[in-house]
Subunit: 313 residues, 4 copies
């Protein structure tokens, strides 16, 4: 289904070629002043309109596709907000798909066969179902970013800060070399994966619930629901397998027994290289490293999980 959360829920809608994508965010308390700039910033990062590292450079260097750059992602607010302040009612918003024209749609029909989830969507819904092409598209994550930014602003009022960043591209772990490596793969018509680390500070101890509402379980669920994500770990994680207990357990990752311990929460996730590359026969400019644009999506899903748990508390 397309609804996330229990007490703080986000319902997502829209195909890449429908009139709009968007969502409904339910459970936001009344009185929150929403910063549109923060939402804009997160959307820009998702669209690849920001740099990947601290070094100033052209966006085009990130290997971002033309389509992404054309997306202007103007958010239209339908309900739940008045004069920039939340009403406590469901917040509905949409982002128009500006280039959703019939001729695009034809192109979509043909590109359908090359998209990531085509074969599985066909198996599930049958050949006449367009659910795959439009819904499996990463465009859907823009709605997550809008909703997640509101959740993050709510958390920020409680002193909780979420910060994700790209820490590895291929075997490169030096941020100042990421663009160079990504551009190299792009030039070769190929793509490469990346690892994102996320840190949350300011969390109170005690968030999370035994035994099936462990915080790390819900985070893993949320992060693994992002397109192209192939793994999640926290604290000592997979690398900790070689450490003896006397050392590994110094890296809790901020959660013990499924509950926050008051120290910074730290997790990682890995994104596979996109399969839609010139090398694989897909023409046009492509995202050579989708992990770049996944950073604000990881932050968004983290915010949605934490707001949901904060609501439970």
């Amino acid at each position: 289904m397309n609804t996330f959360g229990d007490t703080f829920t986000f319902t997502s809608f829209g195909e890449s070629h429908s009139a709009a994508i968007g969502g409904v965010l339910d459970g936001v308390p009344a009185g929150l002043h929403i910063s549109l700039d923060m939402i804009r910033d997160a959307l820009d990062r998702r669209a690849g309109r920001h740099q990947t590292s601290n070094i100033k450079h052209q966006t085009s260097a990130c290997g971002v596709s033309q389509r992404a750059l054309r997306e202007t992602d103007e958010v239209e607010w339908l309900s739940g907000v008045l004069d920039g302040v939340t009403l406590g009612t469901p917040i509905a918003f949409l982002i128009r798909n500006r280039d959703a024209r019939p001729e695009d749609y034809e192109a979509f029909k043909h590109s359908f066969r090359q998209a990531h989830a085509d074969s599985t969507y066909e198996a599930k819904y049958g050949i006449r179902d367009w659910r795959g092409g439009g819904r499996a598209s990463a465009r859907e994550t823009a709605a997550r970013v809008v909703a997640g930014s509101i959740a993050a602003q709510l958390l920020a009022k409680q002193g909780i800060q979420i910060k994700a960043q790209l820490i590895q591209v291929g075997d490169e772990t030096r941020p100042e070399h990421f663009d160079e490596l990504i551009n190299r793969y792009r030039a070769e018509g190929d793509s490469i994966g990346g690892i994102i680390a996320c840190e949350v500070t300011g969390l109170p101890a005690g968030l999370g619930e035994p035994i099936f509402d462990k915080l790390q379980a819900h985070l893993a669920y949320a992060i693994m629901s992002i397109n192209a994500c192939k793994g999640f770990d926290y604290g000592s994680g997979f690398d900790g397998v070689t450490l003896p207990g006397s050392i590994a357990n110094q890296h809790s990752g901020g959660m013990l027994g499924g509950i926050t311990d008051g120290t910074p929460l730290r997790f990682r996730c890995v994104f596979k290289p996109t399969p839609s590359t010139p090398k694989a026969g897909v023409k046009g400019r492509h995202d050579a490293c989708v992990a770049v644009r996944a950073v604000p999506v990881v932050e968004a899903m983290t915010a949605l999980v934490l707001a949901n748990f904060a609501g439970i508390l």
Copy 2:
């Protein structure tokens, strides 16, 4: 909360020192012949009464605690089963905690401070709440194994087989050397982590749902809810970060766009070394590698997820 699943639900109860642990499994169709032997086998593996590898050897070699070996785990069936056949009604079962005596309880009071999740449970529930000591205990996973075995038997009737195994202990990847390594850590009063790989064969293409019910998201949620689990990945996973798209995408792990593609489903998970070691001041025989006993728990949670999705289909 302590209920897992939507249409095929498992509700778990019991503390390590209460009268019993157990569970209620709801959504099992009528007419399934339950093999008690298969449940017994899974419980034995969870209790460390089996070997870790294919090589025949003494259970005691696995570094399993005395308490685990004393657990006889006799399942008492309360409802939902008649003459070994399911009725379609909720299946309730319990396993008595045979050594739940007052004097044990006193010991529990004192050992409370050393258990894994003590500090977080105290932060959450307050010092007078015993939820931590009893509920955070890995004993709870025995109920998961019973429920998961029934789910697995249901799946087996549809030709779906789940098989997990320990593939790494510390930096050792040769199964025939696992016991030796584990015994070494045990002798040193220390502990070590492990990685479990799980493979599911016989799955039809089409299981899983966009965008928040992706199969890998639910699997990650389920697996990360197991005690001591610190990470989950599938297909190319974390290791795939160094591979170019042209190679990495040959390893789907059986799911694309959150939906099974008809090939074997493959995921991994990592378990941290237990912090309750002689080196950390906890006396008595200890589990030097909890990943050993987690293998049937990983299978159980996988079965619960898949039975839930099969129900949705």
Copy 3:
């Protein structure tokens, strides 16, 4: 929360004075041809643009407020439908609040104190929260009607027909006298309640689940969530209390043990008179009998419940 259902879900949004009201309907299979005429018809009936009985007469006779008549209720489709056919993805739609201008908003501020749920909304959300005025408004039911009509069309493909009608106004049970009675109350600046009966034909036996998913329990939940509804019964209902078992049990209402028995499903619901009357100090034309316009809302909620159960089956 504002999401209804489990496997066939409807998420509603919008205040009476926000930019739009609308909803997201999730779980509709691909390939359904949507009749916009049927949706239009249901919306017209909700807006009071139809007659109350079989006798042809002017809409204005029904005591419908001017505001209702001004609502044109044009549905804008955002996603999930292409060329009038469902895609299997979430169907998002909106209806603009055409007269949502600042000056209206001022009026809204003042009328806030007279609305039905004002005191309780204030108790819950605090005085600065506009949730009440806008969200408690019956305008929200237009979104239910759109979603319910799609559900009804889905059910109709399976031969299931839902038909609600007003059977009592005050103590009057002759439909041809309803308008006269309603007009009398309106002329007096007062209002009157009504009873709606709903019949569903074509349901297969076997819909519903023990013990908490009994079909009548879900129907009661859905119907009682409609504004101004004060009661629900089915089969022999409240009136059956005076009948001996040998007679009363001939009126099952189509459900036994919470499960359909293959006979027509029959239930009733009662709507209180609106408290917003000239007599109570609220100026302007008013709905003298809100039950009139509730008929298509009752049908809509019934359809949503049944589509959800059909999905479970």
Copy 4:
């Protein structure tokens, strides 16, 4: 399914002829002292071991079946409670079915065809499924009563009191004449329906949520899930249909817009006469008015709903 509630959940299990019935109550905070006497009292009332009215008289006068009187309903606590105090963990309990012997089982096979929900259960589960006979039995409500009593005790600590009583049997509304009327129907081998009124005092204003979590909607759902219940109304209810708005709206029933208004909550529900009578061919002593024993079940379900909402707040 067999789980009720979201944040305060009750999972029920057990057939009338399985080893036990029982349940798991999740979400009860730690530190509640449980009064076993109050649970005993509620179970006794459900079993017909109390009088129907304030006038002292023999239980046997109520037309209660022999089987009900034989039920001793001893509750065995499995987890979640220590020395009579809740631990914050799931509270699991069971009540043995003392006469669940093979020979009884044979009888059950034959009586199966006469039980209330037989035809619908057969339609749903097929002839070999025993779900109907055992699970549809009113015996299941004993587990609801245990769970509901704990919820009621939790609410009582916050000053919330729930009191249900039989207010009508057939057309008789004078309590002191109920037994006489019931006995008359019993003597004739027939049965009669009854209406129960429930009042809740001490509720704070503000409980309930728009638009689908209106308190009356959840109450209706819970009450309509009780065996033999055919209707629910609150405040002015069905009788209010004849009253003009200027009068009817003085009877809110304690809820406006789905949210408590701080006045006593008042609702009614109606129970049909049992179809299992000598007149219908079912031999042996029978419950001539099942509404008598439904009183504590109505209180129990009300308590479960309110505890769930209190948890949401």
